[in-house]
């Protein structure tokens, strides 16, 4: 029956001949695991297409929903974690395999006549792979992808004369935004893979024309092997192991949730994906106006070298031991690439030479406690004697740079209570009538960073400071909102509670904005005179009524407080919770990060997978066992074959 159908089909289209063309090939030297790299790359490319298309069932390329839609896929869709994980790790595998494949071709001298076109198509495919990697990273519209796109397009912008044109064309305007995401999406999901498919076809046609290059040793070349099924079975073994590796990585090392993209957030230090680390590290050697050498010059030279390689190295000798000069060149290149990547990986984020990074403290904005201290600074007449940021009296010392004098908080509090303790001649009045909390706040304010008198606030923090000042300028409306806990407003969580934030980034923000009241790591211990409890609530562990094992519910519970603030019950609480969301003191993205951190303090994973299907670990165990079982059966079969022979 099948033979009949097969014949019927072949009478109409030459399927059998096409298969012969694809599979019947003699391999000089016999099948080899060295020759599996190209097939493995092709497999991962197909896997990327399949998982990429599958992600489109859920992902939407809009700035307001890209991150949430991906979160939905990863946490709420059965096996969404697997589909996204395979795509994420597949992208890395693709780069590694392309690199290894090229290296193999280089060592074997397979780029030489008559295979130059195969090599050139390969170079184009390498560039397309890099393009896929770059455009794909931006699509989640998370912190890492956003900043990678920002830095990457800025690198394109350093090309002389046409740089800005390229940059604006890539990002669809002068600023990153929705059009950037749309363009990256269409490049990643349609244009580049479309061109890649054509190029792969060309690469393979060119490859088939002259076949596998085989060993350089003439004696070994006399042994012949078949592509099908000998080489194919080796390819399949490598591909299966690769697939298992990708599943393992997806299950046990899922892509991080780096938090939704936040253009206003200056506390995130962007660092590129591992496959761009070499460039990131190389750029550090070219400061200032020389930067263009690193961004454009060197990559261009490297690509040019790749292109001219088959025309430079034209001898027919393929034995690498007899091509010492070219091998040495290749070796130096690989070592350089690996060294730059490793040092880049280990280096602390220090992104652009033209804009030296501010120390973290400078960027750090005032804590809530310090902001209250600022009020006190005004109310208690400190400015009558002291200058702060260019205004105030000259009787006492200028306090603008108090933070840089290396004084401890205790020292400052002692000074406020009794200045004669430090200097018996001091004429500063005692402020011992202030409560401990108020003294604390005042000290926090004095020890925080202040803009110099000329208002030359550090540029990156300007936007955040403005919003801080804005929230502070309207204490009345703040209080109204905060005290109105029973209003409907209070019951509505902000959009932050729907976003999966990043724990590490949240920890950083927590230190800046929350720690002064809620204690180090949210462990509490800060007194709040005038409140019923007498203490600021600890967040580790959080109050029972706020806790939930369901990360979404937990986030919503605490979100209301972070968004709208709250006043603790009690006669006159000295400290109250700020309305960080309503006052725009923190962005929703930042709040999402802080929430992820607080959940983490309480042992709840914000990015918990909520699906009814097998968990990643279960799935891994199942497929690993099945594979092991199949391998054992095949090994036994093979053994029995050999016995019969």
């Amino acid at each position: 029956m099948t033979t009949k159908i097969w014949k019927w089909v072949n009478d109409r289209i030459p399927l059998s001949k096409m298969l012969q063309l694809g599979l019947d090939e003699e391999i000089p030297g016999g099948a080899s695991f060295f020759f599996t790299l190209g097939s493995a790359t092709l497999f991962v490319f197909i896997l990327q297409i399949v998982t990429g298309i599958w992600q489109l069932f859920y992902y939407v390329p809009t700035v307001d929903h890209a991150y949430d839609s991906l979160t939905f896929l990863r946490l709420f869709v059965p096996y969404g974690w697997l589909i996204h994980g395979l795509h994420y790790w597949g992208a890395s595998a693709m780069v590694v395999l392309v690199g290894l494949h090229m290296l193999r071709v280089f060592i074997w001298g397979a780029y030489k006549k008559p295979r130059e076109m195969t090599w050139l198509f390969g170079i184009v495919l390498l560039l397309l792979t890099v393009g896929m990697s770059f455009t794909g990273a931006a699509l989640p519209w998370d912190e890492r992808g956003y900043w990678a796109a920002e830095v990457g397009t800025s690198i394109a912008g350093t090309v002389p004369f046409i740089g800005n044109g390229i940059k604006y064309l890539l990002i669809g305007g002068k600023m990153m935004g929705q059009l950037t995401l749309s363009r990256f999406f269409i490049l990643h999901a349609a244009i580049i893979p479309g061109v890649a498919l054509i190029m792969i076809a060309a690469h393979m046609i060119a490859f088939r024309k002259f076949g596998s290059v085989g060993p350089w040793d003439e004696d070994k070349r006399k042994i012949k092997g078949d592509f099908w099924p000998e080489q194919v079975s080796k390819d399949v073994i490598v591909i299966t192991l690769l697939f298992l590796l990708l599943v393992t990585l997806s299950a046990f090392a899922p892509p991080p949730f780096t938090g939704p993209a936040d253009p206003l957030d200056t506390t995130f230090t962007p660092k590129p994906e591992w496959n761009f680390l070499f460039l990131y590290q190389a750029l550090k050697f070219f400061p200032g106006t020389l930067e263009v050498i690193g961004t454009v010059g060197i990559p261009a030279i490297v690509i040019l070298l790749f292109v001219v390689l088959p025309f430079l190295d034209r001898g027919s000798e393929r034995n690498p031991f007899k091509r010492r000069a070219i091998m040495l060149g290749g070796f130096v290149f690989v070592v350089l690439l690996l060294t730059l990547t490793i040092t880049g990986y280990n280096s602390k984020g220090n992104i652009a030479q033209t804009k030296p990074q501010q120390p973290l403290k400078k960027i750090a904005v005032m804590s809530a406690s310090a902001l209250k201290g600022k009020d006190l600074f005004g109310t208690y007449g400190c400015t009558a004697c002291h200058t702060m940021s260019g205004s105030g009296g000259k009787i006492g010392p200028d306090l603008t740079n108090e933070s840089s004098r290396g004084r401890t908080k205790d020292w400052v509090i002692d000074q406020l209570k009794d200045s004669k303790k430090h200097n018996p001649q001091s004429i500063m009045p005692s402020f011992s009538m202030l409560s401990d909390a108020q003294l604390n706040q005042l000290a926090d304010f004095l020890l925080s960073e202040h803009p110099a008198g000329t208002n030359s606030a550090a540029a990156p923090s300007a936007s955040t400071q403005v919003s801080k000042a804005g929230s502070e300028a309207s204490p009345v409306s703040d209080t109204n909102k905060a005290e109105n806990n029973n209003s409907k407003n209070f019951d509505t969580p902000g959009s932050a509670s729907d976003m999966v934030g990043n724990v590490a980034h949240g920890a950083l923000l927590f230190q800046q904005d929350c720690e002064s009241c809620h204690g180090v790591n949210g462990k509490g211990g800060v007194s709040n005179p005038g409140s019923d409890g007498g203490m600021v609530p600890a967040l580790q562990p959080v109050e029972k009524k706020l806790f939930s094992k369901n990360p979404q519910t937990f986030a919503e519970n605490i979100d209301k407080y972070i968004q709208h603030g709250s006043v603790p019950s009690g006669s006159s609480p000295a400290l109250r919770m700020f309305d960080y969301g309503d006052s725009y003191t923190l962005t929703q993205q930042q709040i999402a990060n802080i929430e992820a951190y607080i959940l983490n303090l309480n042992g709840v994973n914000r990015a918990q997978i909520k699906v009814t299907s097998f968990s990643p670990e279960q799935y891994f165990i199942i497929i690993a066992s099945v594979l092991l079982g199949l391998a054992v059966i095949l090994a036994l079969l093979n053994f029995s074959f050999k016995r019969k022979q």
């Binding site: 599958w54 949430d68 869709v77 096996y79 079969l637 093979n638």
Partner: protein, 177 residues
């Protein structure tokens, strides 16, 4: 499957070749199945997922007057996959002397207009076709085919919550849309 082979083979070689073919087929099948099942599950899994019923907070039960309908505006959250829609809605609520609150959908059961409360007549009147209901939602006059639709409620910590639902207008049965 491709079987034609122009090269004649010895029996020994055939078994070796067949083993390679078997191995390739088994492992390729393994990948197709272990990836195919999750891919299938990922698109059918969301069909099985029940839609979450989200109750919206109205007001404290004690703030609703006895025996007097009040209109309660509230903010409703609707979840649609990864999109959350927040939109304002309102309902009518009345509390009986025992303190139990009933919540009515503000939509007339006749053709879906929004009715009003006439304080002077103590009646709900729909402006579209003059359907008239009493304060307990019973039809007094007009074309309305059924009493006002009540909505599911729950009380937690003295707060009244409502589940927003819509019903088919114009028929005598209360049928959820």
């Amino acid at each position: 499957m491709y079987t034609e082979n122009p090269i004649p083979e010895t029996g020994k070689k055939l078994s070796r070749r067949n083993f390679f073919k078997l191995l390739s087929g088994v492992f390729a099948g393994f990948i197709v199945v272990t990836l195919g099942i999750p891919m299938f599950e990922s698109i059918v899994g969301t069909i099985k997922k029940k839609k979450q019923r989200i109750f919206s907070k109205l007001t404290s039960v004690s703030s609703i007057p006895n025996d007097q309908p009040v209109n309660l505006p509230f903010v409703m959250t609707e979840e649609d996959a990864f999109i959350k829609n927040i939109q304002p809605e309102n309902v009518w609520a009345i509390k009986n002397p025992e303190g139990e609150a009933t919540v009515f959908s503000p939509i007339c059961t006749h053709l879906g207009c929004r009715y009003q409360w006439r304080e002077d007549q103590k009646l709900f009147v729909c402006p579209c076709h003059h359907s008239v209901f009493d304060k307990n939602g019973n039809v007094i006059s007009g074309p309305a085919p059924r009493p006002l639709d009540t909505l599911p409620t729950k009380t937690k910590n003295n707060y009244l919550y409502v589940l927003w639902e819509r019903f088919k207008p114009g028929i005598s049965n209360k049928e959820i849309i």
